[in-house]
Every structure is written in structure tokens, then in C-alpha cells.
């Protein structure tokens, strides 16, 4: 079976890869590009552990085909920190104990960053609904929601 040659941009870098027609973007990220920060919790769009941005839009990478990334820009958790400087969300997730096992964390951080870019001053309810597609089984969400709200306030203060 011949494979598809894809040219795309991942975390700011030009990347090309070969994938099979049925490979999802998540498969490509994890297995071909070694970007294992995006997680597979369900492969059906129900858990959000695989959340990435494609052209700035929050998607489940398990529901996008690898071939569809042609000519687009993809952002994953691996691109969230700038060098050794963590994004304020990343810092606050550590400092405010917003993770326990951490498997949901990459997806939640990608989704939360996208929220704060669109809405720098979300209400608790807006954060809860925005993150409703990201399952966390450990925390009960409480400390996650607080970390996102606190980060939003901090970033507004700094701006």
C-alpha cells in the first residue's frame, strides 16, 4: 500500500512525514514524530487527552487524519513552553496541584490555553463548559478549574 507524503508545521517547525490513509493525526504525532505528549484515552473523540490545535482550532487529534495536516499548522503540548520558560498555565498547574496522575494534563493545558486566548476573563462556568470535553478521573476538576481561573487573572494583571 502506498503511503501519503504530508508537509506540515508542528510547533513552529516545518515537518514532513509519510502516513497511511487511515492513520490519525494522533498516531502520526505519537508514533511517527515521537511527540508522545498527546495521549490516547479513547480514540473516539470522547476524552480530550489528545487535544491539539490545528490552524489555531482546538481539535481531538484522534479524530483528524494525519493526511489532513497537509499545509496546516499543528500545535501540541510539546510546543507550549518557550524554551525553558513555562506558560503561566503550566506553572500554575504545578504550583496549584492541578494534576494527580497527569495523563489528562497535556490535553487540558492545550484546551485551557486556547480558551484564554479567546476569552481572557472566563467565568467559572465558561471554564467548566470549555473543558467539558477533557476528562479527568483523578482530581474532580476542582483544582484544574481554579488553576485556570487564577492563571487568567494573573495574565490579565500582567497584560
Amino acid at each position: 500500500m502506498s503511503r501519503i507524503h504530508v508537509n506540515t508545521t508542528v510547533n513552529g517547525d516545518a515537518v514532513d512525514y509519510l502516513c497511511e490513509a487511515e492513520d490519525t493525526l494522533l498516531d502520526v504525532l505519537r508514533d511517527t514524530l515521537d511527540l508522545t505528549g498527546s495521549k490516547e484515552g479513547c480514540a473516539s473523540g470522547d476524552c480530550g487527552a489528545c487535544s491539539v490545535l490545528v490552524d489555531g482550532r482546538l481539535v481531538c487529534s484522534c479524530l483528524v487524519l494525519g493526511a489532513e495536516a497537509e499545509g496546516r499548522t499543528v500545535e501540541t503540548i510539546e510546543g507550549m513552553a518557550e524554551g525553558d520558560t513555562l506558560h503561566p498555565l503550566q506553572k500554575n498547574f504545578i504550583n496549584k496541584a492541578a494534576l494527580q496522575c497527569g495523563i489528562c494534563t497535556p490535553g487540558i493545558l492545550v484546551a485551557a490555553k486556547n480558551l484564554l486566548e479567546k476569552n481572557p476573563d472566563p467565568s467559572e462556568e465558561e471554564v467548566r463548559y470549555w473543558l467539558a470535553g477533557n476528562l479527568c478521573r483523578c482530581t474532580g476538576y476542582d483544582k484544574i478549574i481554579r488553576a485556570v481561573l487564577d492563571t487568567a487573572a494573573e495574565m490579565r494583571g500582567a497584560a
Binding site: Q90, L99, Q100, C101, G102, I103
Partner: protein, 747 residues
């Protein structure tokens, strides 16, 4: 034993909220979980699973699959030629690879290793299995009846009386006093029957492993597990190899909650690797996780409690029937032990039943067996309090267990925190806050034993004065942080000076599984003792340097100093200074501790919940939720709170949504997160955690395990809240909208 460990002290590190050492890896995507590891030349392994709930395997033909391009190995039960001695391990083998019968929908019957996923999938399709479909049974009460389809033969223990099917594997009984006399003294008696559905632990990380095994019978395994030492011994037994020849390394673990305290893929991956001569990686899909890894038991429970008009319980009885899937599990017994554990009862009898059905083998789920029992008992407690016109917290306080109470499961309690949690709940503003229309408030208590167990810890003093700590229990929710904190506390050095890692099975002595809420207690205890061991050596080195007796040296704030004016006048020698010169004073310094830890203090919690019921749809909204739990001593309060919050929310899912739904044909109808719906952020309010600290006499810092108790009270708490909001007693979980609506309509 070990009751006198606790000593009051001023803490410097313990009790603070420091950043966890694995935080950076986990917020940047660098942390390596089970599925994140690869090896050169690695194959991908896949399981072929039974589509039937119960079927005899007439034949399996793998020849076509074996002949396919890219397929490097196919295994069936015929490849597992060793019969483990222990019945429990034989059950595990029968569960990971079906023998003569497939016992549930999703039971593995064969597996392949191939060079790609597409080759593996094609190979699975090419395996021909001939099944003879047998009648099946899913419901616990049905499974117990004579004449029910039977899964096994000759497995029922002697404790099972005549008149039941062979699916009833065991019966156990607890209690004391005379319940007939007790009920005779009661003014009010309430008797009810309850059912709870099977639920899944629902960890977001599916099971995954990478196995390398050669024909020299040496192997390496990397996997997500709650206990890599147990994985080692179980796999070695199944593979017929000595356990020292198998090294198991635990990955970061993406949730377990008890579900990763056994093996599923690991022996299969090892066998595929052995047969193919190549590393084999296996990962479950979510469908496989739900169909074939451990859910919890579903239950059917009867409870009867009698009390006097002034609120004193005179007699209590409970019958706890638990189905644990296709194999034995001790679940009903735990329910029978835990349900009444919060109370001081004169006359009590409980019976627990272990029943098998055509469902996946139940695995532990956070305080296994206890939440369902608490649901039943605490529901009747609530009704009883109402019927005698008493406040439900006062009723519980009046009958609550305390130090000296003979527990429902036998032993007499030392200092415990049940009443403290009830008092705290009563005094909390939540308890007296006003409620609106269609709203109701519930309260419930819960108990868990907690556990100690086999533990090994090594603590190395490095030449530059930093400290490396090796422990052998996978870190599920911040335990590397809490171990570093306890080591720093004991050594009298800053937290940042200690780094804790999880050692593989070849690098440290035996460690029991991360279960029973044992890690902060038992590994913490071993960490403190390992630090004390190192301190003894450092004191001896200082004594040697000063030319005085080792007994004349004491350890204060991270330094050795003469114990008094008579010992001599020397400036203190810090840990750093002792480390810098250790090669001249006798060589490397380390401390270690190995023990089967005892003295894990039992744990109690009380929850309060407000719900609003929509009378038009039967939908329930959780408005407010407060958790009160005794932590003994909270080492890292953030992560203690996280355990209380996470447990409560899993309980909310169990109470309201989560349920294994089976079709007529015995196949699971909802094996995915869309239809098996766990709580999402928008379903919930903030969960307020209130930590109480009643020191555990069995731990130097007073620590009790906190991981499991948090899931025990919610089922009852929410049921009590919903029953009050809807003014109809709910006795079946989950309280899904259609079920609640039907109950409201039938009022």
C-alpha cells in the same frame, strides 16, 4: 505492635504545599506513560476477544494468520504450558487467555504480534475460532439460583450452604451480640433492599506495556501498573520463569484506582515476545479497557436496622451479595465488614457472598466493596433518623464508633476520627445553609481499613550532600513529593535537597502494590526509618571525627552536634559536611528500611451534598459538596485534598450516571466514554475538602492513608440528598434520569 510510633512534633516541611518533582515532566508532555515507550525492532501486539458472553472454544485455527506477511507470532492458551500453583494466579492466567471456555464478552482467546497495526488487525481477522455458545448469566441474584448457567465446577468453598448454584463461591459472616434480642428491643425497624450497578475505575490511560523476552528466559517489562513487583511475580509464575530473571519497570501511571493492581496484557506480551524473539508493545483500546479490564462488582444488598425512639440502635443485619465477574474476588466479605464499621453496635450480623457471572473479572476499585455497602446501610440510617424525627448527624453521632468500640468486623478501635468528621460536618455552614424548591441535602459516613504491607526504601547520601531516595511504589498522585518531604523533615534539610525515584524490581527489595491507601503510610514510615538509619551512621561519623562516643552525638536541624556540655565542645557538622568527607570517615553512607508495615490507622469520612432534582426529567444536579475526612496528618495538603475531591467525584459518577449495560445476549452495550459517561467539568460544583488530623498512633508523624475512604460515603450521601429532594426513597444505583423519573411518577 507499632501502636506507639507517633510522637508530637513541630513540622517544618510536612504540611507545606511544595511543587511536586514530576510536575515539570507532566505539564510539558515529557513524562513517559505506559504507551509512550518504544524499542528498536518492536512489534505491535493485539488480542482477539470473544464476542460471546459464555461459549465453549471448540477449536482455534491460527494457521492462516501465521502465514501472513508481517505476522511474527500468534499465541493461544496452548502456548501457556505452565499451570501456576496458586489458584489466584491460575485465575489470572485464565482471565488473560481463555482456556476451554470464553467466560465473558471481551475475554481474550488468541493474540498476534505483527510489524504494523494493519498487519496485526488483518491477522486477527484470519484466526478462525469455532465457538459453542452456552447460556449465560449477568445478574447476581439470578446467578445464585440453582439451575443458573454455571461458569465453573467444584470451586464453591465449604462455607456455601446447600441450595445455591455453583456460581456462589464463598460466604462469610461477621458480627456479635444477639440480633433477635436486639430487634425485639427496637421501637422502629426499617428493612430495605438495594442494588448497585457495576462501574469501571475509568482511568484515562488504557493498559499498556512493552515486553522483551528471550529464549534464554530473561525478560524486561515496562508497563503502567500500581505494583511492578506484583507484575513480576505474577508474570514469572505464568511464564514458568524465576522472578529474578524478569525485571519490571513501572511507567508513569495515568490513573489506576485499584484497576491496575493485576495483570491483563503483560503475560500475553511476554509470550508474544518470547515466540517472536522481538520486543512487543501492547496497548488496550478504550473498548478493550471497558470490556476486559476490571470493573467493580455489581451488588444486591438487604439491610435491616432497629432503633429505640430516642435514637439508640438496638440491632442491625445485612446481607451483601456481590458478583465479581467470571472469577473469585473478595468483595462481598469486604462489604459485610465495612458497611456498619462507622457504628458502635451491640447486636450485629452481616453476611457476604462472592458470586461469579459472565462479566469481566472484577478488580479493586478504591475501597473495594465498601461504597455499595455504605450506600445501603447509610440509606437505612437516613430513613431511620427521619422516622424517629432525629437529625441525621445527631443520630450518627449517638451511635458512632470511637476509641474502644468493638468494630463490625471484629477488632476494637484505637483512636479514630469518625465523630470528629461528624462534629465538623455539623458545625460547617453547609449543614445549615438554606435549601430551595426541589432541593435536598444528604449526609453519609464511610470507612476504610487502610493497609501497610511489605515495603523497602533506600536513601543515599550523595557526596555533595544531596539525598537520593528509592522507593518501589508507582506514584499515582504525588507520592514522590510526600516521600521527599518526609525524608527532608526527618533529616532536617530542605525539600529540594531530596529527590525520590521509583526503582525497578531489580534495584530494590520487595514492595507490595500501591493499594489499600498504603503508600503515604507504609512507604512514608520506611522512608522515615531509612532516614533515621542514615542519621545513625552520620552521627557515628561525626563522633569519629570528634573522637567522642557515638551516644554523645545528637541530630538537630540537619546536623550532628554534641549531645550536651559533657560531650565536648565542637561546632555542629552538617549533613553536607559529613557527606563531603565520608570517603575518609568510613566510605559511602546510606540508610535503608525493609519491613512488613503494621499500624495503618483506619479511616473515616463524612460527606454532605446538596442536590436539585428536575421533576420533569428526573435529572439531578449536584449543587454543593463538602468532604470531611481524617488524614491523621496531611503530609502534602494539596494532594490530600485532591484525593478527597477525586474520590467524591468518582462517587458522584457511580451514584448518578455510571453503569455497565448488558444486552440480552450478554454483551456489553456501552464500551466507550460516550455511553459509559464519567463526570465532566460542567456537571460539577467545586468540591470543598475539610481535612481533620487525628494522629494515627502507628506512624511517627501520625499519617493515615487517605486514598480510598473518599469514595465510600458519596453513593449514600447523594442518594439521601436525592431521596429528600424528590421525596421518594431511591434504592437502586445509578439514579439515572429515567429511573428517578419513574420513581417520582410512581409516588
Amino acid at each position: 505492635m507499632a501502636k506507639d510510633e507517633f510522637q508530637t512534633r513541630e513540622f517544618k516541611v510536612v504540611g507545606t504545599r511544595v511543587p511536586r518533582p514530576d510536575g515539570l515532566d507532566k505539564v510539558t508532555g515529557r513524562a513517559r506513560y505506559g504507551a509512550d515507550m518504544s524499542a528498536p525492532g518492536m512489534l505491535h501486539g493485539y488480542c482477539l476477544r470473544s464476542p460471546h458472553a459464555h461459549a465453549r472454544i471448540v477449536s482455534i485455527d491460527t494457521s492462516a494468520a501465521e502465514a501472513m506477511s508481517g505476522v511474527k507470532a500468534v499465541v493461544t492458551r496452548a502456548d501457556f504450558t505452565v499451570t501456576p500453583e496458586d489458584q489466584g494466579t491460575r485465575d489470572i492466567l485464565d482471565n488473560v487467555m481463555a482456556d476451554k471456555k470464553a467466560l465473558y464478552d471481551g475475554h481474550t482467546v488468541a493474540a498476534v504480534a505483527a510489524t504494523s497495526r494493519s498487519a496485526g488487525m488483518k491477522a486477527l481477522k484470519a484466526i478462525k475460532v469455532e465457538y459453542e455458545v452456552l447460556p449465560h448469566v449477568i445478574d447476581v441474584d439470578e446467578a445464585m439460583k440453582p439451575g443458573a448457567p454455571e461458569l465453573h465446577e467444584g470451586r464453591s468453598q465449604e462455607s456455601v450452604p446447600e441450595g445455591y448454584s455453583q456460581n456462589v463461591l464463598a460466604r462469610s459472616q461477621y458480627g456479635h451480640g444477639d440480633i433477635d434480642a436486639g430487634f425485639a428491643k427496637a421501637d422502629v425497624i426499617i428493612e430495605r433492599s438495594f442494588t448497585t450497578a457495576a462501574t469501571h475505575q475509568g482511568y484515562i490511560e488504557p493498559h499498556a506495556c512493552l515486553a522483551t523476552m528471550g529464549n534464554d528466559n530473561q525478560g524486561d517489562l515496562f508497563c503502567c501498573t500500581q505494583g511492578h513487583f506484583l507484575v513480576r511475580s505474577t508474570c514469572a509464575e505464568i511464564m514458568g520463569m524465576e522472578s529474578g530473571r524478569l525485571r519490571v519497570t513501572s511507567s508513569e501511571i495515568g490513573g489506576g484506582f485499584g484497576g491496575k493492581t493485576t495483570v491483563f496484557l503483560e503475560p500475553v506480551a511476554l509470550m508474544l515476545s518470547k515466540k517472536s524473539g522481538k520486543p512487543v508493545k501492547m496497548t488496550m483500546s478504550r473498548d478493550e479497557v471497558l470490556r476486559a479490564s476490571g470493573p467493580t462488582a455489581s451488588t444486591s444488598i438487604d439491610i435491616k436496622i432497629g432503633a429505640t425512639k430516642d435514637g439508640r440502635i438496638t440491632g442491625a443485619w445485612g446481607d451483601f451479595r456481590y458478583q465479581s465477574g467470571a472469577f473469585y474476588a473478595m468483595n462481598g466479605a469486604l462489604g459485610a465488614m465495612c458497611g456498619f464499621a462507622p457504628y458502635d453496635l451491640e447486636n450485629l450480623k452481616t453476611v457476604g457472598w462472592e458470586v461469579v457471572t459472565n462479566r469481566p473479572k472484577a478488580a479493586a476499585y478504591r475501597a473495594p466493596g465498601a461504597p455499595m455497602a455504605a450506600f445501603a446501610v447509610e440509606s437505612v440510617m437516613d430513613e431511620l433518623a427521619s422516622s424517629i424525627g432525629m437529625d441525621p448527624i445527631d443520630f450518627r453521632l449517638m451511635n458512632g464508633a470511637e476509641e474502644g468500640t468493638k468494630s463490625a468486623y471484629g477488632p476494637t478501635y484505637p483512636a479514630i476520627g469518625l465523630k470528629a468528621t461528624l462534629e465538623a460536618a455539623k458545625a460547617h455552614p453547609h449543614w445549615s445553609a438554606p435549601l430551595g424548591e426541589n432541593q435536598g441535602r444528604g449526609v453519609g459516613c464511610g470507612f476504610w481499613f487502610n493497609f501497610g504491607g511489605n515495603t523497602s526504601v533506600s536513601l543515599m547520601i550523595n557526596p555533595d550532600g544531596t539525598v537520593s531516595l528509592s522507593e518501589g511504589n508507582p506514584d499515582i498522585g504525588g507520592s514522590r513529593a510526600s516521600m521527599s518531604m518526609m525524608a527532608a523533615e526527618e533529616l532536617g534539610i530542605p525539600y529540594r535537597q531530596v529527590r525520590t525515584i521509583i526503582a525497578d524490581t531489580a534495584s530494590l527489595g520487595e514492595n507490595d502494590v500501591t493499594d489499600g491507601s498504603r503508600v503515604t503510610f507504609a512507604v512514608g514510615l520506611a522512608t522515615i526509618k531509612a532516614a533515621r538509619h542514615a542519621i545513625e551512621t552520620m552521627k557515628a561519623r561525626a563522633a569519629k571525627t570528634w573522637g567522642i562516643d557515638a551516644d554523645a552525638v545528637e541530630w538537630v536541624d540537619g546536623a550532628a552536634q554534641p549531645a550536651g556540655p559533657n560531650a565536648g565542645k565542637f561546632p555542629p557538622l552538617t549533613l553536607k559536611e559529613i557527606a563531603a568527607t565520608m570517603s575518609n570517615t568510613g566510605g559511602p553512607i546510606s540508610g535503608h528500611h525493609e519491613a512488613n508495615a503494621e499500624g495503618a490507622g483506619v479511616s473515616f469520612g463524612t460527606h454532605i451534598c446538596d442536590t436539585e432534582v428536575d421533576p420533569e426529567t428526573g435529572a439531578v444536579k449536584i449543587l454543593r459538596y463538602t468532604v470531611f475526612q481524617d488524614a491523621g496528618k496531611a503530609v502534602h495538603p494539596d494532594y490530600v485534598e485532591g484525593q478527597l475531591q477525586g474520590g467524591a467525584v468518582q462517587g458522584i459518577g457511580w451514584a448518578l450516571n455510571e453503569e455497565y449495560v448488558y444486552g440480552e445476549d450478554g454483551t456489553l452495550q456501552n464500551p466507550g466514554f460516550l455511553d459509559y459517561r464519567i463526570p465532566v467539568a460542567s456537571d460539577l460544583p467545586m468540591i470543598e475538602p475539610v481535612i481533620l488530623e487525628i494522629p494515627n498512633p502507628g506512624h511517627p508523624y501520625g499519617v493515615r492513608g487517605v486514598g480510598e475512604t473518599g469514595i465510600v460515603p458519596p453513593l449514600a450521601t447523594i442518594a439521601n440528598a436525592v431521596s429528600r429532594a424528590a421525596d421518594v426513597r431511591m434504592t437502586s444505583l445509578p439514579m439515572s434520569p429515567p429511573k428517578l423519573l419513574a420513581a417520582i411518577k410512581a409516588k
